[in-house]
Amino acid sequence: MLVLPQPRGEISEAILAALARSVHPLAAPSPAVPIDPLSDEDLQLALYCCYELHYRGLPGVADEWEWEPSLLALRRDLEACFEAALTAAVPRPPPPGGPDQMDLALRAVADADDAPSVARYVERHATVEQLLELVAHRSAYQLKEADPHSWALPRLHGPPKAAIVQIQTDEYGNGDPARIHAQLFADAMDELGLDARYGAYVDHLPGSTLATVNLMSLLGLHRRWRGALVGHLALFEMESSVPNRRYASGLRRLGYGERATAFFDEHVTADAVHESIAAVDLAGGLARQQPALTGDILWGAATLVALDGRAARQMLEAWEDGASSLRIALPAGRGATPSSAPS
């Protein structure tokens, strides 16, 4: 991230103003409950800033802010609001017949998803500008891909731990920095003429997109949500191969070459392996080991479907209206020329 994001309301303004100074007790306003916390601009940006302190930090912000009790207290209030909205919006899916049926229960969660498919739209219809917008949206997560789920590692043991480590090892490039999935995504952004620097598009991203990332941070930072975090990852891996094939094919349709499609192509094959490991060995393995977490695992999967679906609807509705799906449209002409356009 190059500079601190622009505030979007009372809470984010108070937090960002405080973070620019050295660490001190924060006198922030008590957050009022917004109409729709799951897409509220102020709440989601405020949470996003609080969470970034636990990843790579924010530009110019003292490291000590990460554990400043007054900021953590405010974050807890914001999280309570976010969690209450999630609980209200996402019903708990029916439990499986047993841990050996976890893959079927997770698949039922995926099959119940009635949101329109952004991947299908990108494959067939998206313009270059819309494709670049999609990549900007995705950059909020993909430039730190796998990091939120890595918080599950010290909280698991035995078979589910071995399963998640196998998945994360692939995500982190099997020891090759050039193959780290976040790096492949940065390469794709670069090839598309987008700014691949971490956090470059935060000001552009609507609250509904930030919420999809904040969800992972919420589940990742709280050990009590380890079951939901595992369910979130499992569904993410299960629903990844086919959409990524569609994204790659949309890029090729628009004339982009290998460097732009590598990230998406890699996910088709990698996630075809991860799908089974995540559903059966990781999610099923955790349910077998700790049956009390079964409900949380499925709910975590359902929260992914719910928030991704909301973000997808908002994106496609904007495009149908001929509008930008971002808060601030990308600069005109940005990346509009594929380097390997067919003649």
């Binding site: 079927l104 692939d170 099997n174 191969s241 094959t269 089974s276």
Partner: protein, 72 residues
């Protein structure tokens, strides 16, 4: 791991873990590019012999264990 382990996943691919060599019918090696691979079991993948997740789209159904010869 001393030997390859092949796991058949319900309604999904065959996962191969451990030391293995993948080759075509002429014995030419097929580069898997990774240590654990998923082999297509539904027949509909566009990246055969590897799985590309298409089994979900075609609603491929198969048990994890062996099918009985006299079933159905």
């Amino acid at each position: 791991m001393d030997e390859a382990r092949i796991t058949s996943y319900r309604d999904g691919p065959l996962l191969v873990r451990g030391p293995f060599r993948l080759e075509d019918q002429d014995g030419t090696a097929i580069d898997a590019g990774r240590d654990t691979i998923a082999l297509c079991r539904c027949g509909k993948s566009r990246t055969r012999p590897f799985c590309d997740g298409t089994h979900r789209l075609v609603r491929f159904r198969a048990p994890s264990g062996a099918e009985s010869r006299h079933a159905g």
